[in-house]
Symmetry: C2
Subunit: 374 residues, 2 copies
DNA sequence: TGCTATACTCGAAACGGTTCGATTGAGCAA
DNA sequence: TTGCTCAATCGAACCGTTTCGAGTATAGCA
């Protein structure tokens, strides 16, 4: 069942049949009708592989993420599929587990399979596969993170803003000693969140205490261990900000395991909202991202490039809003902890203006402001 | 950069280069070495599309599920990808949203793209795309559910056993009036769970009360509405068994919203475990499935068929064990409900043997057994 | 009536591999 | 030397499309 059969049945040449079926001009209405009917009667469907060979288009896009099992990424995948399937494209899913070698290998396979484009959540490490991608000038859209050594379109969250809002919320609720569970340093999203956090501290005149930042793996286990580490500090932080969804889960488990509760013993706030945040008691406050939208927009961006011929015009970068979802996991530092607050006061310093990326020397001066409202 | 370039560089014919690169016999070690070196020097990678056209193999498998966003399916996807990527296959993900038309359309696209095989969680409705699949004798492995009108390999959970165990657990904890949130009737897994539930009731001499079974959509919303409906009954059930993960979430929300708590006001048990089940307080008891394993085994099964030439030998069907994960959401019916229990007693009847699929007439006799232990 | 522009239609050449059957030549026995 | 076998190599066909350049008929126009 090939186009040859259709052509024969319609009594035309193969090339004419092809033109007719693809709605190209310069084919008489009469012939076009005959060809279409023949195709219908035979139940003809073009062989996409053969077509791909000739047209150099496979209508295949690959999405490379750390792990589809992570709700953040699965929502992203869903969004991408939504955008792509509408236009006849299919989505290939690859899981890297944040492993650069795996990433390289998977990208390689996709390249040989001639995917039309790639949606990538980069591990952050550099390797040949990415270069190969660029060399074949196959469109690439980065998701969630940037890779500084790679110039490509990107769809990201407003990480700085989100982290700033979360931290500010904690500060305004009275926290001064805030633990931060970060993630891989190589991940730009994480660095941005840390930056947002630090900026909020600075803007509120709180000196950053390095021991309060723990760099963990992007897993529940990583968050768990980091949280234990934080809570072992003397004095422990009164609030913990976790820079991704898996890690906040781990943190919750750690808190529970120590026989503590939030927000009474320690306030909890997460980056990236997740379903259970709502079901847990008390529900967990979080900075919500829009993973589905990210996938959707990235998919659209990619298709745009593809159909507009990947014109190497300026790079397009999209920042999607985050929003702080207030739930019940943040409260005024508990009463039994005045000494902690005192301690915190001693280590704070006066605010010194908003913004400004340069690192000013921080003065160890008594902080003047109040503790903040509940 | 084609095999032609490699052949030229190595000073051999194209066909010889092909043989050498594919490790076929009948090529001298000397020539093989020269060809491999040429390929390496040129950075040659075969064009998978061209190869596919000739070999009729694309190394592409599609996974068709309701929604990757559902952790059950994303774990499945991950398992499948695991099995496939090992052997150089890639996974295309398609979301049907339980919509048969969408399923048909997506399968159609995959067919034209010439995927080597399909992993399918069928909506349950019949349509042409499936037949087309069989006609082209492309291997198919069913996941999670069967479609009675379709003869194919399958990897499933022990739904009957799992539902039986869950129900038995409720009964042994003292429940007699058990609400069941079912799902789509067309979904075999759901029917099996209902069957397991009913069998457990029967085996413990409890007459099934139809009003206690609510058929809902497979969503959180569906579970929510069904749960409200159940709790509005007079008297309400003392326990609710929800036949999938999304629906139990909805049920939890409904219970909360009514100002009730589990297990005090109503015991809760779910089919298919999910991460948050553990984090919620009290954590929710559930029948755990093995979605990752299901995907993995299904992928392996498919590859087996593919590489063994899809010999139409007997169908292979795998049932994966389920396990009841005891947590804190099941307890003895609450004290304020003796009348409910009395009521329940009145509607029960003596046990009449285990197993046996035939529906015996149930006798309306006072149930003799005790209430069971906590 | 003849000429040209236009509208269709067609055959053949790609696309980049694999594979089949033919060819070559070396090795060996008679 | 001849004849035969077998391994190594090669050329060409093929997979199923698209597309290009050429060919043909028709209509319009002078």
């Amino acid at each position: 069942m090939t186009i040859r059969d259709v052509a024969r049945r319609a009594g035309v040449a193969v090339s004419t049949a092809s033109l007719a079926l693809n709605g190209k001009p310069n084919v008489s209405p009469e012939v076009a009708r005959r060809v279409r009917r023949a195709a219908l009667e035979l139940g003809y469907k073009p062989n996409a592989v053969a077509r791909s060979l000739k047209t150099r288009r496979t209508q295949l896009i690959s999405l490379v993420v750390a792990d589809v099992t992570n709700p953040f990424f699965s929502a992203m995948a869903r969004g991408a599929e939504e955008a792509l399937s509408r236009r006849g494209y299919s989505l290939i899913i690859c899981n890297t587990d944040e492993d650069a070698a795996k990433e390289a290998q998977l990208l390689d396979v996709c390249l040989h399979k001639k995917v039309d484009g790639v949606l990538l959540v980069p591990t952050g490490e550099q390797h040949a596969a990415i270069r190969a991608l660029a060399e074949e000038s196959r469109p690439l859209v980065l998701l969630d993170r940037l890779a500084p050594w790679m110039d490509a379109d990107a769809v990201l969250s407003d990480n700085i803003g989100g982290a700033y809002a979360a931290t500010q919320h904690l500060i305004e609720t009275g926290h001064r000693r805030i633990g931060l569970i970060a993630g891989h340093v190589l991940v730009s999203a994480i660095r941005e969140r840390v930056a947002g956090h630090v900026r909020a501290l600075r803007d509120h005149g709180i000196r950053r205490n390095k021991e309060l930042t723990v760099w963990a793996g992007h897993t529940s286990r990583g968050g768990y261990e980091a949280c234990l580490e934080l809570l072992k500090l003397e004095p422990p932080p009164t609030a913990i900000f976790s820079a991704n969804n898996l890690m906040v889960r781990g943190a919750m488990i750690a808190v529970r395991e120590l026989g503590l509760t939030w927000p009474d013993d320690v306030s909890l706030i997460g980056f990236d909202d997740f379903e259970e945040a709502e079901l847990v008691t008390p529900p967990v406050t979080a900075v919500a991202q829009q993973p589905f939208q990210m996938g959707l927009r990235a998919g659209e961006l990619l298709l745009d490039r593809l159909e507009r011929g990947n014109s190497p015009t300026e790079r397009r970068q999209l920042r999607l809003e985050t929003s702080l979802v207030h739930r019940g996991s943040v409260a005024t530092p508990h009463a039994g902890c005045e000494e902690v607050i005192e301690e915190a006061k001693r280590t704070t310093c006066p605010p010194h203006g908003v913004g400004g990326a340069e690192h000013k020397a921080l003065h160890d001066v008594q902080y003047q402001g109040g503790i903040g409202n509940a």
